[in-house]
Symmetry: D2
Subunit: 338 residues, 4 copies
């Protein structure tokens, strides 16, 4: 931690600060510059991180030196983490896993049709929403437990793992009973109580980045889950909110290598929500894999024109099949398997 003082700070204010730093068991080192005085603080940075030193007279700014996350950081664990879903299905190893399926679970027949097709094309997991976070109270809100049952049945029938979102602390136990992987949606990335609840399960968690969350905040939210004892976290970049028009959100492709630098956790990309238009899902999927993503989350629907949610961004199964074929080439070009 480095404390930069304002020009002309009085000695008594400096002394006050030094006293405070020492009272925390830390060692201050004062450097008198030509224009400013700065104080380096030696010792465990966490002790001082949450102290409001900027409120002291004379302090211009406080600059942390270390990242605020611990368990999720590369410094804590050098090797890539591998998150196992079941049997030989795992995220973070050589194989890139594709999660595909409809935005919402609508009927059993619908999900069976999709499951068969995406499995044939090479997807390893099926996704589908039973509880849907919708901007409008008048939009379709999902089938609830009925949807979870359909998801589990179809998952068992086709031997394809099931991913679904949990939105409410009260539903964690319920959802965990039916799904193989729990998803925390972008709007809940900083629903800290929900993070703690899923941290107490042993399930793999897909944690989606919030629309306006920095990478650091995403990692801090993952830290909530790991700090409860659940290390099975898969991070997901799904587009951030910017001024850029044409796409629903702006896919922050750099987040993939940046997260790999800062953390040992696997990273996947959701091109469907980032783009908001099915026509962009193919090139963005290839970009994600080329940039090093460990997986993708792709919306697929047999009849997007009649979908109960997110119609415009869902791929037809035949376009998904083409994508998978082309993606295989890209994966191999960067030394991965699909």
């Amino acid at each position: 931690m480095i404390i930069v003082l304002k020009k002309g700070t009085e000695q008594k204010d400096i002394d006050n600060l030094l006293k405070k730093v020492k009272s925390l068991g830390l060692k201050p080192m004062v450097s008198q510059g030509q224009e400013r005085t700065i104080i380096g603080v030696i010792g465990p940075e966490d002790v001082i991180r949450f102290q409001p030193l900027e409120a002291y007279p004379g302090v211009d700014k406080v600059m942390p030196v270390l990242a605020p996350y611990k368990l999720v950081s590369r410094e804590f664990k050098q090797q890539d983490s591998v998150v196992k879903v079941k049997d030989s299905l795992e995220f973070g190893s050589e194989k890139i896993n594709i999660v595909a399926g409809p935005c919402s679970i609508e009927t059993k027949a619908q999900l069976q049709e999709i499951a068969g097709k995406i499995k044939d094309s090479g997807a390893s997991l099926i996704r589908g929403g039973a509880f849907k976070p919708r901007t409008s109270p008048y939009s379709f809100q999902g089938l609830g437990e009925e949807g979870l049952k359909i998801l589990q049945d179809v998952s068992n029938q086709f031997g394809i793992a099931a991913v679904t979102e949990v939105m409410d602390t009260r539903d964690v136990e319920l959802v965990a009973r039916y799904a193989d992987v729990l998803q925390i949606g972008a709007r809940n990335m900083q629903n800290f109580n929900l993070l703690k609840e899923v941290g107490q399960t042993k399930k793999p968690i897909i944690l989606k980045r919030g629309l306006s969350a920095t990478v650091k905040e995403l990692l801090m939210s993952a830290e909530y889950i790991l700090s409860e004892g659940n290390f099975n976290v898969i991070l997901c970049e799904r587009g951030i909110r910017t001024f850029s028009e044409f796409t629903r959100n702006t896919l922050d492709i750099s987040a993939v290598p940046v997260i790999k630098m800062c953390s040992h956790l696997p990273v996947i990309v959701d091109p469907s929500h980032a783009a908001g238009k099915w026509g962009l899902v193919n090139p963005l999927s290839k970009a994600a894999v080329a940039a090093g993503a460990d997986g993708l989350l792709v919306e697929v629907h047999p009849n997007p024109k009649e979908a109960l949610s997110d119609g415009p961004q869902q791929l037809l199964p035949e376009n998904f099949a083409i994508l998978m074929k082309e993606l295989k080439q890209v994966a191999e070009s960067v030394g991965r398997e699909l």
Copy 2:
């Protein structure tokens, strides 16, 4: 709703669309332009709003004509709503109400000291967090129910209404037992289940705008609360996330008159979270009142240097007293009372 077709769309695709529109009980009106064909849709827009028409072949874009919110809109209710907290305390009438207090409730003595001082300066409500949403799992998380009890005691002792945040669907009933006004924080603006829960109480709700929420999304979240039967909603602008440095967030001052144009609900401003620096709270508070805000949410702490959270942005009680004195002039200059 207006549907713009791509150049060169085939007649059979147009016919398909027209069939779909009619099947919904709506009336399509086709205009053949020189370059494009457009279809105007007559009838209740809601019927068609959630149909994925963009997934139809030939459709370039779909442009809604009406706002998606109903109950919160100016069109639904022309006159300004007045939200009554208790007795003569209400938001949205001539008097501007100031909510002040610490970020977190720390001890009873602390809260009593603040309550006395802010009441003397003219605040009508005291705020203080018992459940705190913190980016880091290692930060102080609030006193919980113990904090709520302190808040209620101090509120009763000083005759000043109590505002506090609720973060979890499971806590709504508990918090509603102790507080006069429930606050939904920025990070929970789209925690839809929480919105529904507070919509089922009769308590006044302060709904804070999310860091990356548009005004339309803020109004849609308010719509969730109103649609459950609770019309006592006070909207709060608290800064949005932009590239701009120096301030923690960027206060979107235009949101105040924009919300007044679109909605009948009262609007308040939180300059403390927007700025993140106490030195900016005074000018931003004046700007908010000059722009038409119905109230302010200001963080005040007797000793920000030792605060357990948000130290740098909390005002000292003596600076709050100065602010209130100066603000009175600004309020009167725009025909309001403080």
Copy 3:
């Protein structure tokens, strides 16, 4: 300047860095923390600011301690600067000056009509574009020198100072011959050659903040002008680009007090371009004055429906008259004159 090293940096890399720092005539101070080593650099920060130290092996990040601007900074000059336009007309003293007028100069009759009306309402300067930066090559591009002549004639006739934009290094001399104040538009804030050219005139310069410029970058652009010898710079906040809809740009009201903290230069606000809608100009103007602005730039047009540019955001003269009357109250409430 503080250099933070990566965990586990080898001694030879540290030695290399220290050698480099000493070779620049600076003094390094090494602090061995528990987890990281940091190097404080003592001496004139400018020497090292432009050295690519982040390219050295082992360097994690380089954190500057001082602001990169000099002449524009509060540290360089403690008292507020007053920029004199002519006679008793100056920016930065007690009186708030209002610049008003049409987006584009269209005809002499148009400008005369406006000049008479805005002067009656209390404006001290008239603005009008002769060279117009337009997004589309097919939009009206301004009258050029013909427009400048009209502006000067009307300025002389009504005894009201003239402000107009210069867009091209080749036109600086020409525009300076006709106008009292030169304006650098938002799109040219980082047209560094243009900044140097206007820095070589003695004219007062209104420098508008770019759509995506930080306050620091705005100050650096002002530094270009001052470093050429022209200290008559008036900074202008005119809205930044964010995701927020409804308004054309987002007025960053905090920029007013922030600039006042960092710099001695006067600051004005352009609510018309920020909002893009005339109905918001009144509340935003009041907010700007309440927050401490030294002036405003307001678009006024006698017939916005027929304006050749920016119709929707221009005030009618009668609405401008109302604004000025109401604004006088707000100015007085914060101890200023209008």
Copy 4:
């Protein structure tokens, strides 16, 4: 163009609008909805685009139906444009071209060293700045004409085409004498006079997207160049400004397929400026090629630690060689050559 009226607009205001529309030679079509009236306008949209219809009483919003650009649009020209630089060197065909070189031209020896190495690795063009847009007036500003001479000599010696930036309308002729391709930097994307000047040359132009420019604005700026008769425009995505930290800017990878959908012009990507860190250039380059880019602009420097500008983001020649080898695989995986 579609005009949406406010609820309750009076008939005389509607009549006024209809009169205006007809006076422009266009045909209005009125649709009386249940809640709102809308007017569709038939005829060439350009006639009405620049009319301030939003300033008419009763008008709620005006929604254009067509894109405002013409010559750059896919609708104007269906097939991909190929921009020829010289001989067999062209952008937009099967081969992906890599432009590499230092941020600034420093000495002839430096540029010769780089030219030899990047050519060996497979680059087809060399870049280097002679006129540098720098945020600070105290930073190195480039060698000027001396630098241009070095660039041309080295280009001739190694048989590798030369790309350099032009910043000032007064320098266009000079720079065009020395370089094969002129670059318009991000900060000048809306320097409309500069766009017109380069539009009057016949040189290929690399037009970089501004930090806060939408894709539509980028296309409008290209339209300025094409409308002067120069169709040799290569668009360049180089990162936009967002809240996201870690990277200097946020690479908007979706812009590549989006531009391909809207325009026939070739698109390249600059991963160096987007990331600001050389360690991210490799994955972002691969992502760009996978997403469909026609080329890359990569900063390479033999000794980034001593570079006079942009040190941290420049690749060492040996890392560039590795990138080119790996990139070849990715290019082939999407059916392109490198």
